[in-house]
Structures are given as C-alpha cells and as structure tokens.
Symmetry: D2
Subunit: 313 residues, 4 copies
C-alpha cells in the first residue's frame, strides 16, 4: 500500500481533530479511525465512521423484551442469547462505514451483499491509477482437485515465475494503452497534440479486473457479520478473505461482546442435519457408525467427521 | 406526552454525558440528542444517534466523481446537483436512529417503509401501558368527498362529543379487560388469587389499534427523505403526518443543505407528464388552453392548475 | 372461514380457466391455484400465482457453476448441496404470490419479513367486515413460566369461558361503535340521517388487533423458507404458526426437492456452538459430561440434550 | 451474437414445449419466451419466465382500495392513477426473469440495482469463453466536454482504427495468456504436459472488463421500471442503454398499459423545482424571464428550457 503525500496529509488532518459529542462512543475504534490498514499489495481498509456499540444491541433488545430482561441478564449473556437464537434485528442497530481500496474482481464478489450502501470511484468521471493486484508466489495455487471453485497447492517456482511475468506485463501494457486511448496527461492536456482520444468510460474497458478501485461501503452489524461468515470461510477466494480478516479485527475492537458471540455460535460452531443428528445419537449410545452405515453422503460424512475431530476451525 | 420519573432521569443521564470523538459531529443535532419531542397526545420522537452530515454526502459523491468535482462546486451546489438528478446513493451515507412512541395504526403505515431497521416493544414479553390515542375535536373530520382515502371538515361539536366518548370508553374498557385477562398486578402477582390468567400475546389481541407502542427505528438519509416525501404529503393520514413534520425539523438541524435541496426539488416542485408538458408549451405560446382542449383527465388538469397557481405547497 | 357468494363465484371463475403457456408449470400447484385453504376461524391462504420450480433452482445453480455440474449431480443432490452450504441465491429464482386473510396482530408479525411485496386492504378507503379472531379454548394458554414470550397450558373451563365472553363482547361492541362512527349503511347512505359520521381512517382506530385484514403477499423461495424456519418454530406465536404450517404444505407441493432439503438441513437439524462441539467430542470419547462440567449455560445444555435425545422436532 | 449448436438446440426445445396452466398468461410475451434478442456484438437478452400482467397490477390496487374502485375506473385509468401518484407497490406484484449476456463493465453498473435476484456465471468454477466487447467506430466517442461522465462525437477514422486495433489485440492476448495460465484444453487435460497451471479464479484476473459474462436476473416490475428510467436516460453509458432499450420493448409486450403510463409520467415528463415553478408562473403571466432574472442556475435554466422546447425526449 502506498499513499500519496496528499492522502497522508488528509488522513493526518482527519485523525488530528477531536469533537465533543453526547453520542455513545467506542474509544478503541475511535483510536484507529481513518487509519489505513493494508490488505493485499495495494489495498486498504479505513474506518470512516460508526454508530452504536454492544450497548446499542442490548438497548434495542431491551425495548423489544421489556425492562424485565434488565434484571435477568448481563449484557454479554443477553448478546449471546440473541446470537444463539438468531434474533438478528438488534444487531442491525449498529452501523459502520468503511473506505476500501480493492481489486475489481474482489469488488465484484463483495457487491453481491446487497444490504449495504456503496459509493464507488467512477472510471467514467476520473482516470484510474496504475495499480493492479499481483499475487505473491505462495498464493499462486493450482486449480483445486477437491473443491471445484478453489485453489490447491502453490505452483512451483518456475511456473510462478512464468505466470507472474505474464500477469505483470499484461497489466502494464493494458494500462499504457488505456492512457494512450484517453490521450490526456497529468494536467488534463492531450498527450499527443493531434489526437482526440476517446471517452474514459470506453478506454477503461481494456483494463483487467486485477486493477484497483475504491469505495465507501456502509452496512449494519448484522449484515456485516453475515458478510464475515461467508467471506472468512475457507471456500471464499483468498483475496476477499484477506479483507474479511482485517474487518474481523475491526469488529472485535468495535463490539467485542457481539464478536465473541459470533465466534462462539457461527465461526466455531457447525450445523448438523436431521440425519447427522441420528448419526451422533447412535455414536453416543456406543454404536460403531461408519460412512456406509451412516446414511450420509460422502461429503456430509467428511464434514461431520471434521466437525467432530480435534481440528478447530 | 407524560414520562415517568424513571424515564426522565434516564434521559437526563444520557444528555449529561459528553464524550470525545474523532467522528464528524453535528453540534445542533448533538444539542437535542435524547430529548423527547411530543407528537400527538402521548407520542414522542427522540434522536438516539446519527452517523454523517452534509459533508458525508459530499465526501461520498466525490469518491464517485473524482477530485475534479472539488474545484468545480461548493458543497451546497454539489448537493443540489445530486438531489436534482436523483443521484441518491451519496444520501445513503448518512444514518439516523430514532426512538418513537406512536399508535399502532400509525406504526402499521410506517413499517411499510422496508429499508429500515426496527426493534419494537413486544406485547408478547411485556405488558402494554394504558395509553391510547384520542383525536382532538378539530382533527375529527368527516370522510372526504373528494379524496377517497382522506378526511374532510371537522364534525360538529355534538357529533364530536358523541364519538370521543365512545372512543374513550371503548379504549378504557378494553384495557381493563386486557388486565383482567392477564390477571397480573404491578408486582407480577395474580390480581385475583384463584385465576390463572392467559398469556400476554393473547390478551393483547383485544386492544384497539389506537394504543401506543414504541420502537427504535434506524434508516439512512435517502430513505428518510423518501419517507418524508410520502408522509408530509397532504394525502397522508394526519396522524403520521404529525410525526413526519417533527422529523422534518430534525433533518433540517442535522443536514441543512440536503434538507434545503429536498425542499427545492421534492417538496416545492412538481412532476409534469408528457401531455402536461404540451399544455404548458401551448400556454407559453399564448394559446388559451382549457380542461376540454388540454387532453388531460379532470384530475390531471386540476393538479396542473394547482401547481401553476399562486398557492404554494 | 366463510366466503360470500360473490367471492365463491369469482374463485370458481378463476379456477375454471385454462391457458396454454411455454413457461415451466408445476401441475400439483396449478391444481390448487386460487383455492382458499382455511386457517384459524376466519382466515385463509390462496395461491394466486407462481414462477419457477425445483428446476429453476437447478438451472440458476448451473449458470453459476457451469455445465460441468450437469454430469456430476442429479437435481436432488444439487439442491441438497445448495441448501447444506447456504448457497441461497438459486432459491431466489422462484417466486410465489399468496392471497391471505389474517388477524391484524398476525399481520404485524408477518410484515417484519421485509423482502416481500405487499398490498393490503386499506381501512382508509374501505369499510372493514365484522370478522375477528376468537381462540378456541384449547389455545387459550397461560403465560408460559419457562418461555418468557410464549404460552403454557390451556386454562380451565370456567376461566376460558370468562375470557372468551369478554373477548367476544368487546369485539362486537367495538365493531358496532365503528359502524356508528362511520354512520354509513350497506348502500353508502347515512345510517342516521342527521349525523355526519367521521372518516374511516379515524373510526377504525377503535377496532382491536384481533380483527381480520387481507393482503396479497409475494416473495421468493429463499425468503419464504426463512419465513417458515422462524414461524414454524415452537417459539413462534401459535396463530402465525398456523399460517406457516399451511404454507409449508403449499411449498411441498410446489418445490418438493427444495422442501425436502429444507426439512433435512433446517427444520430437522440443529446448530452446535464452539463449546457444544467440545461437549460432543468429549462424550464421543466416552467421557461422562454433565451440565456443570460442560462449560455450557443451563439453557444451552438443555437445548443440546434435547437435540441429542430421541424426541424429534 | 453467436450461439453454439447446443445452445440453439436447447432453446428450440424450450420453445417447443407447451403446458396448460390456470395462471394468468400474456400471449405476446409467451410468444417470444426463451428467444435470444441480440444486444451489442456478442450479448443477448432472453425472457425465461414471468409472473403477472397489467391485470395483476389492477388486482393488487383493488385489494388496497377496495371494491369501490372497480366501478370508478377502467384498468388503464387506474394504472395511470397509480403511476402518476407513485403508488408503487401494485407494480411490485409482477415479476420477470431474464437471461442476459453482457460485458463485465456493464454488469458492474447493472448490479447496483440491489432489489433483484442474480445468478452469474462463475469464473471460479468455469472457463470463460473468448468473447469480448469491441465498440463499432460510430460509438467510439471522445470524452464529452459538457457532460463530465459521458462521451461526445465519434473520433476520426484513423483514431478509431488505432484504438480498435489496440483494444482487439489486448483482449486477444489477454485471453491467450488466460488459457496459458489455466493450462487446460477443451477436454480438461493439461495443454502443456509438464505444467501445473493455476486456479481459474486467479487466471481470470488478467481478463479486461470488456469480456462477456452471463446471468439470470429476476426483478419486479416496479424496480424494472426504475432501472429503465435510469438506464434509458441520455446520461447512461451507451452500452447499458442498449440493454435497457431491448428490455423496454419486452416490457411493452408484457404490460402495455403500465408501460404506456410509465412513458407518459416518467420518460416523457419532467420534474420542476420550487423555483422552476415560479419561472413558469411568471412566464404564463406574460412576463419575459431570462436566465439572469430566473433565479435558476445555468444548468437548471438549460434543463427547463429544453423541457419546454419542442424537442421531445
């Protein structure tokens, strides 16, 4: 991640200001406000603003369940109760706004989370910077044999070398042609005097999906946790997972009780099917059950055995 | 509106606390935070929290349109441009959370605005208070003859008297029976020792829709302005309009530039149809156009003439 | 449920027509189209239209996963795979439209499912019929001692008698007053000549939430299954559960493979937490684990033991 | 647009089947079901299924407004009334499902319409075809001087020649490298025996956003009309406008009354601001108003004058 001097100055300015407010604040999140956390080779995530905290979740639950709940449960217990029973609306009472720089192919997966607000940098208005994603060799995996959508082991050094060279030279040459098509220099003057150039919205069609874009993205805590559950998953593409992992750290600073409950009931837990339940019951009575006698498919059997093994997710 | 001593104390406590934050704040909104503004006879609206300001709208627009916009337009001009051209996503970058006390029949209209987060007081968990809406005589209108869904002139004094007595005695007797069915006193003990009482979720079915409920309601500025446009409208039922009017004042404190643009392009403007446009063109050439020669329906003609008359909305 | 002669004739007419279409059809669902299925004392559910079938789910999945999937899996296997792994978007490719008659308090719970389209009978435009929900004595339960929001055992006969009499007389008298306030007879003439009456939107505020309303409700299969999961649950109020149970039968006719997968992975399954998983692991090694040594809360322990007991959900 | 023999056969098969149904059908739409309509150089739109018709809009409005409406208005009049007054929910009662092939940069604009269901071809699972968008010379416009996001006049022949050659050679070479990185031939065997190749999800990052993708896209009529209003607009990028124009023809076949009302009140109409209204009033009294005395900004003045000129949109 490299920020321009202008960007660094703007961030310093934002971070340097302190206001007084009656609103609930979360000091550990305030502490990192506006700060860019690097993701991948050129990407970042910055927290721009937030609304609510663990207390807002509790407050919303208590308006629903009445004041009786106050005596019954401490905040942490109430939050765990809500998470366990999928009472999701109180988690919608917190909101966060992020500034994210990310490759287009990651943005295309991310945008599928529809319950969010987005303002993206427009390549119709503005000229894109010469920044594209290049994997590190250890993330350059083969097509996975077991998971039809994922990647397997890293390729060998010479294969990696061949591929990274192709990736880099293609991206560089695309960008060069993009600028040729626009025919506009840094000061907005024609690069070549006697050429007209074409519209930005057309020229950008030659850029690969590895190029970086930026957006402001705002969502509520319930939908953010759902995003995390899908995008922290081992089946998610590595590059979006890298963003999810950074966001998970931010959520942990912001709403530690909610995040702990999320970890307990979503990330660390697992779902058992009707037949899976029968298998566990039979096992608990001491019966020996194997794949053939379980009534499960091969994939279900593997998943259940993994969930019951010692390897933690 | 009457608040209990406990409620007043809790509000004082919330209002008394000041935090330091790096987040953008809006001092005029901070000033009224948590304060209950009365609506109707027992209702209120309180601002609980907010995220963003007019600057957040501008900031989001600028990430889309690039830095060039910075030189071109001042904030107010950019916001008016966004509003005029229905570039709605930057307005989604602001969020507000309200605590509202409102009659059930108003809540039923309000909840139709789906892009919002809600936590409502649950009459399955808790006992409802003895508070119901009783119109003032001047709002006790007849069924409108011109607007099939609305109300016309106030009824006469004796009619009003008859009706308000019926409304009040029905509500009181329903509440009394509700408490009889629950059979539970203030301390959670049976009111009548040898009766079991029925579940709250069943007993509440006898209460009229004039009874008050409460909720936390959180939405973004774009959807809030859409709510206002529909619910400030003369065709909206008076009781929900009363809430919309209070919210409009709050929005004006929060995002004065956005609210001014909303007033200019939505509230104070009007929409002309394809045929309506032809009518205006013909008029501007000096042609005399009347209802018959306009090609408009009677309703469209009336609306257009009203829009072009001196009476301001 | 009682339908007027006009309504019955309209339904017969709808059911009597057959069209020819290239669209995919589901004959068992077509067979019951427009037919009213009774729910509670005066409610019903009718299927008005539908789009898609199990094949549409498969078709959508295959556009995502490519044609390779065709060879790999049969339709049922693919649908189970999607359900197990919460790949929810293919289920959004089916849509259904229902006509529902339901008490207002049920409508208030139902409407919280936001991803749906609704057109409700408007009591601002039209006069409500004299139909209200009266529980049968066996559903007249006490407030539950164990579940703070639910109901327990049915009350005794004399208590039931007392309560039902109150419910019925209150509803009847409210309706009578409602008509008095409107002062309009069947032909739209004043019931009492020298009274003006008040607007419908005001008069209806005296009616209890036990009164019936009607709506068209349209949603996609993914959101419908989510509705069913929450509303078939034992913790859902009995009255909305009755609607969910009827809808479940309809879904089973419409998309039997999707419904079977839903039953296997959602209804018949259960979710285990991180700590719950440890408990099962310890038990499987033969260790004796009890509530105290489990590390679970009392509620979690009970839920886990129930899930592992012989009692099927 | 070129379809493979397999695709053509599948379409013929779909089109050849006729079913009998009780559902409402729209014969002109049924007539073109499954048929691919070409858009741009390799794209298409196919209607896969639909639910509802103009009658469904009317039916939904009548459940809201009660049976009285039946006598008052014909269907067309009611639909115009709904459109004029932005009573949008009845239009949500119709649903359509399209199969679309489109360039990635168009898909990125399209997906911003969030209230829709989507299943897209996944380049993580499957290998993308060698199909990319190449503008025709007459669409190869310069950056617009007046509209900061759009394109102006077509460039000259030699400029066009230069640019199209760059576009084509870049796309071809990117695709070649994509296949090299995957190292998999048509039969799924390694193209080069001793190389491992990398995962599809990585290799595809080198492809430009001009490459074609495919999806199933399903939405309701209200949201579809909103899509059309934005994407038929002169400010929309030409390439997505081409899709919107094809969809507009389809909507006209499907719901001709709704489409006519949409054309009357949305496409052919215009919105006047509070100040714009004052200007029209003054003009109608015979006053000469010019830009300087209008109180409007330059852009607003131009828009108003255009709306009142003879040039129809």
């Amino acid at each position: 991640m490299q920020l321009s001097k202008d960007q660094l100055r703007a961030i310093e300015e934002q971070r340097g200001t302190q206001h007084s407010t009656r609103r609930a604040t979360v000091p550990p999140l305030d502490e990192i406000l506006y700060e860019p956390f690097p993701v991948l080779d050129h990407g970042f995530i910055r927290v721009i603003d937030y609304l609510g905290s663990d207390s807002a979740v509790v407050q919303a639950a208590r308006v629903s369940y009445g004041h009786g709940t106050k005596r019954l449960r401490e905040d942490g217990g109430l939050i765990r109760y809500l998470m366990r029973n999928r009472h999701t609306t109180p988690f919608e009472m917190c909101e966060i706004k992020l500034h994210v720089k990310l490759p287009i192919f990651v943005a295309r997966q991310w945008i599928r989370h529809r319950t969010a607000n987005v303002n993206e940098y427009s390549a119709r208005y503005s000229i894109l910077a010469n920044e594209f994603y290049l994997p590190t060799p250890d993330h350059l995996g083969t097509q996975s044999a077991t998971n039809r959508q994922g990647r397997g082991q890293p390729v060998g050094a010479s294969e990696a070398d061949l591929i990274l060279k192709l990736m880099e030279s293609d991206a560089k040459s695309s960008y060069e042609h993009y600028r040729t098509m626009i025919n506009e220099d840094e000061d907005g003057k024609p690069s070549v005097a006697d050429r007209s150039g074409i519209a930005r919205e057309l020229a950008r069609t030659v850029l690969p999906v590895s190029f970086y874009t930026e957006w402001y993205w705002k969502t509520d805590l319930h939908n953010l946790l759902h995003f995390l559950q899908l995008r922290l998953h081992a089946h998610a593409q590595y590059e979006i997972r890298a963003y999810a992992q950074q966001i998970a750290k931010i959520v942990n600073l912001w709403v530690p009780l909610s995040f702990a409950a999320f970890d307990e009931y979503r990330i660390g837990g697992f779902e058992v099917s009707r037949r899976g339940r029968m298998v566990i019951r039979r096992m608990l009575t001491g019966e020996h059950v194997d794949k053939a006698s379980s009534g499960l498919t091969a994939a279900e059997w593997t998943e259940l055995m993994n969930a019951l093994s010692d390897q933690d997710p």
